[in-house]
């Protein structure tokens, strides 16, 4: 390859990436989500999952949970860049604070008859999914679990007539007695 003719420095060496879960406490003001999502896109960071709702209504405070991947230095930059935003109170790397509890909820709709229908019911019960809706040809199941469990469940359901999926993304919390 020809050497790139540029007056910018070369890209830095590639380091291993890790998956991290960040909890971000923010003022729930207009545009705060756009600010955070925009920071990720503008600086070229990944968002694997993003969950947000107001958690303290009186104080108008929201908690945003973001799952991202990056090298250690990128994760550190993400944290610093987030903390630099005026409405951000603090950012906690839940992956670093120890094995955080992580859950997401998914709804899946499966359509089928005969063996497929029976197999779908069996799988749902094996995973401990709840049946939210049923017709003679379809089910809507709810499953809460880790991202891996949800992924596995969806993969299996694909084989037995999956037609629709809706997922919440990850909600997470550090283990132990300490509050954030």
């Amino acid at each position: 390859m020809l050497q790139m003719k540029t007056h910018y420095p070369d890209a830095t060496r590639v380091e291993p990436s890790h998956r991290r879960t960040l909890a971000i406490i923010v003022d729930n003001e207009p545009g705060v989500l756009a600010r955070i999502a925009g920071l990720f896109s503008g600086r070229g960071y990944n968002i694997e999952s993003l969950t947000v709702t107001e958690t303290e209504h009186e104080a108008h405070i929201s908690r945003i949970t973001i799952v991202t991947t990056g090298t250690d230095s990128i994760i550190q930059q993400i944290k610093s860049q987030l903390e630099r935003l005026v409405p951000v109170h603090r950012v906690v790397d839940l992956t670093l604070t120890g094995e955080a509890v992580e859950r997401e909820l998914c709804l899946v709709k499966v359509v089928g008859k005969g063996d497929h229908r029976v197999e779908a019911m069996r799988l749902a019960s094996a995973f401990g999914a709840r049946t939210l809706d049923a017709t003679l040809t379809s089910f809507v199941y709810e499953l809460t679990g880790t991202t891996d469990e949800v992924e596995r469940f969806i993969k299996l359901m694909t084989a037995v007539g999956l037609v629709e999926v809706s997922r919440t993304g990850v909600a997470a919390m550090a283990r132990g007695a300490e509050g954030m």
Partner: protein, 590 residues
């Protein structure tokens, strides 16, 4: 005690309470109520620019030269979008600004109304923070918060987008509080243990260097005083980024000159060879570091920055200190004195010996001419003839900017206004307007190129309207010189679109605006003409016709490290004897 008034009146009252004396703006439909409120008072003086980008750059020049926040008032839609370049510029260079933009009435937001644009959406990425005010109750708080956020922590631009119906509504005005934001509290005091470790490292350094930046200037004149004290106490050499020039006096013997892509040989080699680097208020910009994996390979690094995201962003540091430069410098000076610390005298002497060796290469030397004006010579003469005055320099972007940084010598902070991070051509003329308003009796010169100047040329009209005797000193080489230089280096000298064709007659142009035009194409006349320019108490465009082919050296070429600098042909590649070079230069420059 709160007072009832309209939203538009609140804006003006808030500006008055924030101590604002000048605002830069351009009226339009969505800000007419504010312009009406302006009409009824005298305290806040409005400066009518000719383009909204000019308003923002003027506010930047005002802010950078005075240490106060700059204020901009523009209308919705095109008013706001025209201001974007200026906002992005202020964001990159950490200039405190408050920009008030008009917006269509709240009930029309989202309907693609006339002159509507999503101002908070568009400016989100190029401001430190922004607000869309949807209720009159929020307005006083938001106005004061905007000033607080713009100035505290790492400074930056803040946009307040104000729909027209809110400007008409009546509400109660509240005066500013001291701590205006409910949660935003940037750290200003550095961690004392880290500072202690830094002092320890400095005391044991054998080849130390101070590398300072715009953060010292932003931190205020006190920071510059403390920096001078610390540098003197330690006896260490000091270099600075483009944005930090003036924080340390260029006449001092410990000063190595600017570093980076067009920095001096001695500054860059000191950075490369040092064992302890003390970064104060600089951010390891790529124009400074060059090739990252070869950047200062032997050093332990101390980094003082108010913005935690600047630390370890591109260059790993050993001792990070998050805090305001003045606060941290104060602790550093105190701890250095308290511990009766002494620099490693013998090692430091050797280090200085090495530095003097690099200095002796005289990297800023150039072959002067009696036929054509060398751009470097023009800046040298401009400096010599203005150095005893209170002089403020602004620049555009390009070769002339680098020559100004290299050959104009700054003794005080806040005297040098340039677009560093964003590199905005067109910055200098409006910035000069702002600087002149902040310092009516000072000499304000925009060192420009013939290409850059045409990007914001209309602001000459502003200078005339307000009797601002700014001087535009154009180094006219008929090329976008820096583009041409890069085309020579990287693209085989194919000058694609970098020749400035159909140039206007700048002398006539100055006269057309009502100013004074001066042209000089002869080195022999230069001094007299510069003096003529200085002595005219009106706006001047000085068309200085310089050598068309001169390039800007020294230079760290693409993908190279600090110790692989390219020196002026005259010094490097022809292999001229250094001693004779200095003599020759000495002869010609007197």
């Amino acid at each position: 005690m709160s007072e009832m008034m309209t939203g538009a009146e609140m804006v003006i009252r808030a500006l008055q309470d924030q101590g604002v004396d000048h605002i830069f703006g351009y009226p339009g439909g969505a800000v007419l109520p504010i312009y009406d409120a302006l009409f009824h008072q005298e305290k806040v003086r409005h400066v009518l620019v000719r383009h909204e980008q000019g308003a923002v750059h003027a506010a930047e020049g005002y802010a950078r030269s005075s240490g106060k926040p700059g204020v901009v008032l523009v209308t919705s839609g095109p008013g706001a979008t025209n201001a974007i370049t200026g906002l992005a510029d202020a964001m990159m260079d950490s200039i405190p600004l408050v920009c008030i933009t008009g917006q269509v009435p709240t009930h029309l937001i989202g309907t693609d109304a006339f002159q509507e644009c999503d101002t908070v959406g568009i400016t989100r990425h190029c401001t430190k923070h922004n607000y869309l005010v949807k209720s009159i109750e929020d307005l006083p708080r938001v106005m004061h918060e905007a000033f607080y956020v713009a100035q505290n922590g790492r400074p930056g631009p803040v946009v307040v987008d104000l729909p027209k119906d809110i400007q008409f509504k009546t509400g109660s005005y509240v005066r500013p509080l001291s701590n205006q934001h409910k949660t935003y509290r940037p750290t200003v005091k550095g961690d004392i243990e880290h500072i202690r470790a830094a002092i320890e490292l400095m005391a044991n350094a054998k080849r130390p260097v101070f590398y300072t930046g715009g953060g010292v200037v932003n931190s205020g004149p006190h920071a510059a005083t403390l920096l001078r004290e610390l540098v003197r106490l330690t006896g260490f050499p000091i270099t600075s980024t483009l944005m930090g020039l003036g924080a340390y006096p260029a006449s001092d013997k410990q000063w190595l000159g600017m570093l980076g892509m067009h920095g001096t040989y001695e500054a860059n080699l000191a950075m490369h060879e040092c064992d302890v680097m003390i970064n104060i208020g600089a951010r390891f910009d790529d124009r400074i570091t060059g090739r990252l994996d070869a950047f200062s390979p032997f050093s332990k690094r101390i980094h003082v920055d108010i913005d935690p995201s600047s630390i370890n962003k591109t260059v790993k540091v050993d001792i990070p200190i998050v805090g305001d430069c003045a606060h941290v410098l104060e602790d550093m000076v105190r701890l250095w004195r308290q511990g009766a610390h002494q620099a490693e005298k013998v090692a430091l002497k050797d280090w200085w010996g090495k530095i003097e060796g690099w200095r002796a290469r005289n990297c800023l030397g150039f072959r002067n001419s009696t036929e054509t004006i060398k751009p470097q010579y023009a800046i040298q003469r401009l400096y010599e003839l203005t150095k005893d005055r209170e002089t403020y320099i602004t620049t555009e972007v390009g070769q002339h900017q680098m020559w100004a940084a290299q050959y104009f010598r700054f003794e005080e902070p806040n005297r040098w206004m340039t677009s560093g991070g964003h590199g905005t051509m067109g910055y200098g003329l409006p910035a000069a307007v702002g600087a002149q308003l902040a310092h009516p009796n000072a000499l304000v010169i925009d060192i420009a190129g013939e290409a850059s100047i045409q990007m914001m040329l209309q602001e000459m009209s502003t200078a005339l309207q307000y009797n601002l005797p700014i001087k535009v000193f154009i180094l006219n080489n008929e090329y976008m010189g820096m583009v041409r230089q890069w085309q020579e280096l990287l693209h085989g000298g194919r000058y694609s679109q970098s020749y400035s064709e159909s140039l206007p007659d700048f002398v006539k142009l100055a006269e057309a605006y009502g100013g004074v035009g001066i042209r000089c194409d002869n080195p022999g006349d230069l001094d007299a003409k510069i003096l003529e320019m200085i002595n005219v108490n009106r706006p001047v465009i000085f068309d200085c016709l310089v050598d068309k082919t001169e390039n800007c050296f020294p230079m760290i070429p693409s993908g190279k490290a600090h110790n692989e600098m390219l020196l002026n042909d005259y010094l490097g590649e022809t292999g001229a004897d250094i001693g004779s070079v200095i003599d020759e230069k000495g002869k010609m420059l007197v």
